[in-house]
Symmetry: C2
Subunit: 328 residues, 2 copies
């Protein structure tokens, strides 16, 4: 029998989950839940239902794992503890500083309902976290580095769009090659914010807007751009649609550490991602953890889990015997 998946929230991430479910033969999409009028929402999977989120409880026994595809700012802090009352859930909560609080809330609700809630699944938090953790456990004496990009930062693109005179904008975060090279060489550099990443902006102006003024406003924006070397390109709406409509991303997690009786040997562990579609990759990680949620629940486990708490084999459609024979 297939694992019956529900998707709550049908934006980029929800559509990514729909595609990921299609690629996993042991899963099927049961229903998509939306805050919009279901008749206005058209999905790709012919066999799946589209329902209003108000009716979600009716699906309690018809969905094995509900994927929560809302945002971390306001949706997930409410939704994950709420829906874990009725379903095993997976979310991609990514406000790092608030993870401990979110964990406690979900854990309490999940233990009461006897369900599994896996939080903060994706690539950062998610696969990057896992790689930081494994590398720290292996090399207790060392230094961690995380670089992001080259990729689109939705938050920074939105910040530019809020400037008066800006019609459209896309911002790329780019790791500084020299900094990466130094880290990879095991030099353990101390790096400032400016030395790690640059920011490149592609901006479409409203008619009659003052380019110099917009450029200055971007480059001096606190938190977002002031601490970085920022480049601004003004381009046409046609150009931004043609060349900058994708949502690529990626990055590097590197740990450099010492071993030996006198710490005489150096080691570099590096994990990197190069992603054409940030939401589709995040969704693919989520699909694998949905399989884990289903299996943990079948075993009778309950409570909140993160990527740290789940043995790798739970993610794979292959049996333990197949994994040992083929991938170990």
């Amino acid at each position: 029998m297939s694992i019956r998946i529900g998707i709550l929230g049908y934006g980029n991430l929800g559509r990514g989950v729909e595609c990921a479910v299609k690629q996993n033969p042991d899963m099927e999409l049961a229903a998509v839940f939306t805050r919009r009028d279901p008749s206005d929402v058209s999905i790709l999977t012919k066999e799946a239902a589209v329902c209003n989120v108000a009716d979600v409880e009716e699906w309690k026994d018809k969905i094995d794992v509900m994927i929560l595809c809302g945002g971390s700012a306001t949706d997930l802090p409410e939704q994950t503890p709420e829906y874990v009352k009725f379903f095993n859930v997976v979310d991609s909560f990514d406000t790092h500083a608030k993870i401990p609080e979110h964990f406690e809330n979900v854990d309490k609700a999940a233990k009461q309902s006897g369900r599994i809630g896996i939080i903060s699944v994706g690539w950062d938090p998610g696969m990057f976290s896992l790689n930081r953790m494994y590398a720290n456990a292996i090399l207790p004496e060392g230094k961690d580095y995380t670089f992001w990009g080259k990729g689109v930062s939705q938050g920074h693109s939105d910040a530019i769009r809020r400037i008066a005179g800006v019609k459209n904008a896309k911002q790329y975060t780019i790791p500084v090659e020299d900094a990466l090279a130094s880290v990879r060489a095991g030099e353990n550099p101390e790096l400032t914010t400016r030395q790690k990443h640059t920011r490149e902006c592609f901006v479409v102006l409203e008619e009659g807007a003052d380019a110099a003024k917009v450029e200055k406003e971007i480059k001096t924006m606190p938190n977002y751009f002031a601490d970085y070397d920022t480049t601004v390109h003004f381009i046409s709406e046609e150009e931004i649609m043609a060349n900058h409509s994708g949502i690529p991303h990626g990055g590097f997690v590197i740990r450099s550490g010492k071993t030996g009786w006198e710490q005489e040997n150096n080691h570099v562990i590096e994990y990197s991602l190069k992603l054409d579609s940030n939401p589709e990759f995040t969704a693919s990680v989520i699909a694998a953890y949905a399989r884990a949620a289903y299996r943990l629940s079948k075993e009778g486990q309950s409570g909140c889990k993160t990527v740290f708490d789940i043995a790798p084999a739970y993610l794979s459609a292959k049996s333990p015997e197949e994994l040992r024979a083929a991938l170990l």
Copy 2:
């Protein structure tokens, strides 16, 4: 209370484990077991005992995890099922094709004794296996690549040393840059053995040996060199000691895969290691899994486990709360 570690077999790997234990404050080295006369074996840790392997059973209640540092060809197939009768054990069994059989033997003995046996720990098998598995679970439609090096292959160095006229030799396995670049670009190339790695040999000849004959014998050696582009350098004994006495290694595990409704997006996941000391890094991975063996045993679990079966958090000295706050 510290986790009391035993080391069985005191070669390069055993010494690496001794160094790794020193770097983990929650562990202490209790004893080293050797087949040699203990009075001939001098270890680095002042507080630890050196004992003959014949006396190992006396340590049954004084060691929490025994690290088996023998070879995969003849030692571990016998030792791991034998010593798991008395101890929780970790080994680095690396004969990939025989892992299923080794697992069954260790699992049976470990379940009978109520102990934990973690097998095939290190970097390949080990961290490379984990990364292959995670990447396969995330991107079900894709292609795997493993490259090794640049690093010393002990087996190939030994094979050269067995040739008549050869006094000493060191062989480096080197990944082909163009092949790596093509894989990283998501081109999914089909690569022959020759297209993936080259082999570079540094050879010291016995006095009066025929260099041309030795070079031909190396380059045409079946399995070891015939399928590769091989370079042979003849150097002096002084030069090989000065420049080639280390045991560096490393490599790359890359999975390239597609997502999207029409598989329109490509993703590349890459994990790489650059290691000054192959045995010390392997030992560092083993130390982390020794912690896991200890904890699993405390929970009352028993049987054989691999890296696929163990939740990442078991490897870390940090608490789950600390991990969520600091590394997620």
